[in-house]
């Protein structure tokens, strides 16, 4: 028996001369769920990922506040008005005034600039440096042993202590704050990247690329790097959030942004002595800090779920 006879035998059970009169039609099945109208484009994406929409929206709002601070009914955030000290929030001072008579509203809005600058700069710097270290470490075994032991050492120091120590060595400036926090964050990124690189190197498509004669640098650029960007982006948002908190802490204890520059940490530090009688001086910068950090974290969670659907399903 060969296939021809098998298919002939099968075909013998199919009769093509059916007359249309006695057709048995299956009853249609009802819809048990309301219909979905799929939405394409950017709006559809935001609808499917509400966390990204909310987080991203808030972050965008904060960026606008930072950029347009001078136009948002602020005055000079450093202008002293000793006669108007510690005023309660009012039409004149929306968030009240501090012990030197400076407008807390203006200071908080201008403070956004410091927080976002530090957050974004650290996120970008730590990602770029961490990515490089992670790639080297994931590809060169000898370097890996040395680099990873160094990273272990760095990670054994709490990042905040490391940042304080680094700040103690230098003069307080936004730039030095950025450098100090970046150094403290690098080990986390490079560990992540190294882990991702090691698992990507095991992927069959990398093996296939090797088998088709692709040189190592090209493998890194075409096959490894693009696939590390998704987890790295997610990590970068978390680093951004944690850098903003670290900056506030450093400023609060006087080891960060110089007091002359209004930053949320500085404002809170200055209002600390009065927080029981004039809580609003601490309250408003704290609220802004919390909302910004929350927004960045939401954005990060949303990105993680959208970039790695498997992870989202598990949660």
């Amino acid at each position: 028996m060969d296939t021809a006879t098998i298919s002939e035998r099968n075909a013998a059970h199919i009769a093509m001369d059916r007359n249309a009169g006695n057709v048995a039609v299956a009853p249609p099945m009802p819809d048990i769920l309301p219909p979905v109208r799929p939405r394409g484009g950017f709006l559809g994406y935001l609808r499917r990922n509400p966390t990204i929409a909310i987080g991203g929206g808030l972050v965008l709002a904060m960026v606008c506040v930072a950029i347009f601070a001078p136009f948002l009914f602020t005055r000079d955030p450093t202008a002293l008005a000793p006669a108007l000290r510690t005023r309660e929030p009012s039409a004149q001072f929306w968030f009240g005034s501090d012990m030197l008579g400076r407008d807390v509203y203006s200071r908080v809005l201008y403070g956004t600039r410091v927080s976002l600058t530090v957050g974004f700069s650290v996120a970008i710097l730590a990602s770029v440096i961490g990515l490089t270290i992670g790639l080297v470490s994931g590809f060169i075994r000898v370097a890996d042993t040395i680099i990873m032991r160094c990273m272990d050492g760095l990670m054994s120091i709490p990042p905040i202590l490391l940042a304080i120590a680094l700040m103690a060595l230098t003069r307080g400036s936004v730039q030095n704050v950025i450098i100090a926090i970046t150094i403290a964050e690098i080990p986390r990124v490079s560990r992540l990247v190294r882990g991702v690189v090691l698992s990507l190197r095991e992927q069959p498509y990398v093996d296939a690329a090797v088998a088709s004669g692709t040189r190592t640098p090209r493998i890194i650029i075409r096959h490894i790097l693009p696939n590390t960007l998704a987890p790295l982006t997610v990590q970068a948002t978390y680093i951004c959030a944690s850098a903003m908190i670290t900056e506030a802490i450093l400023s609060f204890i006087g080891a960060g942004t110089p007091p002359i520059i209004p930053s949320w940490g500085n404002i809170m530090a200055e209002g600390r002595a009065l927080w029981q009688v004039k809580p609003y001086i601490v309250f408003f910068p704290a609220i802004f800090l919390s909302i910004t950090v929350l927004a960045v974290n939401l954005l990060g969670d949303g990105l993680r779920d959208s970039l790695d659907p498997r992870m989202a399903k598990r949660v």
């Binding site: 021809a4 059970h13 093509m16 048995a24």
Partner: protein
């Protein structure tokens, strides 16, 4: 005729997804008699696993939604409360999954895993439960059960784990066992052991089995009756012999033709495999007409317009095809 153990009527399981309703199972009806082995076969995405999960109400709602009726010993499982359902799961109906490593809890030893269901459903003491666990391991053919019962899943091999899964499933003497691809993750020689065990246990325990698989060889070896699913619908159902001898639905014919037969080099039947052209249609769009029409060599305008009903083409042999020939059925 007495009422079958399980009677599924017009079962529908749909899922909400952002880009449309996924009609994973769309109007399946079948029954399983006491002690019977029924196989549900089909390719991935045909809805066979979703059918199994729906029978135990293991579909998260939302995004899923189950409709129809699943009568088990006269009770409609879809109308039970979650608490009543819990009393049935693992007790009267139990399930074996494909991947034994992920369906066993890695931090509990074998005695605890088997004992858990016994203590929950039968109120046994810890001591009794462990004795019963050892008894179950002996039943499923695990050597040195008294020692193995203290081991953790990672200490067991793949075949051993699947035996433990079967022991857990059988611990409460279920009336119905749902086995979802029970041997797919196993090697051939281990698969042979597990299939042998299932055949053997069937005689001894007498539970009805619903076997979900894509492997026609496994179906031929263990099933009595076969349901072929395609794109969320039942397209054919018959006794196993009749189905393999005279497949009546073009999909079943294609499926059987596309499997290489072991021994083809000896019988001189080495020929090109029959292909089913094309792809399984997306279940997110409603299909008018026959679900298989887009890949069927015999499809006509009639097939594309009107969905064929399941018709009895020969005694006990139903198929959903306008053109599948009917044999004269003796009254």
């Amino acid at each position: 005729m007495s009422e079958p153990l399980l009677q599924v009527e017009q079962l529908q399981t749909h899922f909400w997804t952002p880009d449309g309703i996924n009609r994973a199972v769309d109007g399946i009806s079948f029954h399983v008699g006491a002690g019977e082995t029924v196989a549900i076969v089909g390719e991935s995405g045909c809805g066979k696993s979703v059918t199994a999960m729906s029978m135990l109400r293991l579909i998260p709602e939302p995004p899923g939604k189950i409709a129809g009726s699943i009568k088990f010993q006269g009770k409609d499982l879809l109308k039970l409360s979650e608490k009543e359902m819990r009393a049935i799961r693992g007790n009267e109906i139990s399930m074996i999954f494909q991947e034994p490593m992920t369906s066993l809890n890695p931090v509990l030893n074998v005695a605890r895993q088997i004992g858990e269901t016994l203590r929950l459903h039968q109120g046994l003491s810890a001591r009794q439960a462990e004795d019963k666990a050892i008894e179950m391991l002996t039943l499923v053919g695990i050597p040195e059960p008294a020692r193995r019962v203290r081991e953790y899943p990672h200490q067991l091999s793949g075949g051993m784990r699947q035996r433990v899964m079967i022991a857990i499933a059988l611990a409460c003497n279920p009336k119905l066992l749902i086995a979802d691809e029970p041997t797919t993750a196993l090697d051939v020689t281990i698969q042979a052991q597990i299939l042998d065990l299932m055949r053997d246990l069937k005689h001894r325990v007498g539970a009805a089995i619903v076997l979900i698989t894509h492997d026609l060889g496994v179906v031929a070896e263990v099933a009595e009756r076969v349901i072929v699913m395609y794109a969320g619908k039942k397209v054919e159902e018959a006794q196993v012999g009749a189905l393999f001898r005279t497949p009546r639905h073009p999909y079943t014919q294609g499926l059987l033709g596309s499997v290489p037969k072991l021994g083809s080099s000896l019988t001189g039947t080495e020929t090109r495999l029959a292909e089913i052209p094309g792809l399984v249609p997306s279940l997110k769009r409603k299909i008018d007409g026959c679900v298989f029409a887009s890949r069927c060599a015999y499809a006509t305008d009639l097939c594309r317009k009107l969905a064929p009903a399941l018709e009895e083409k020969a005694p006990g042999h139903v198929a959903a095809c306008h053109y599948a020939m009917k044999e004269a059925i003796a009254a």
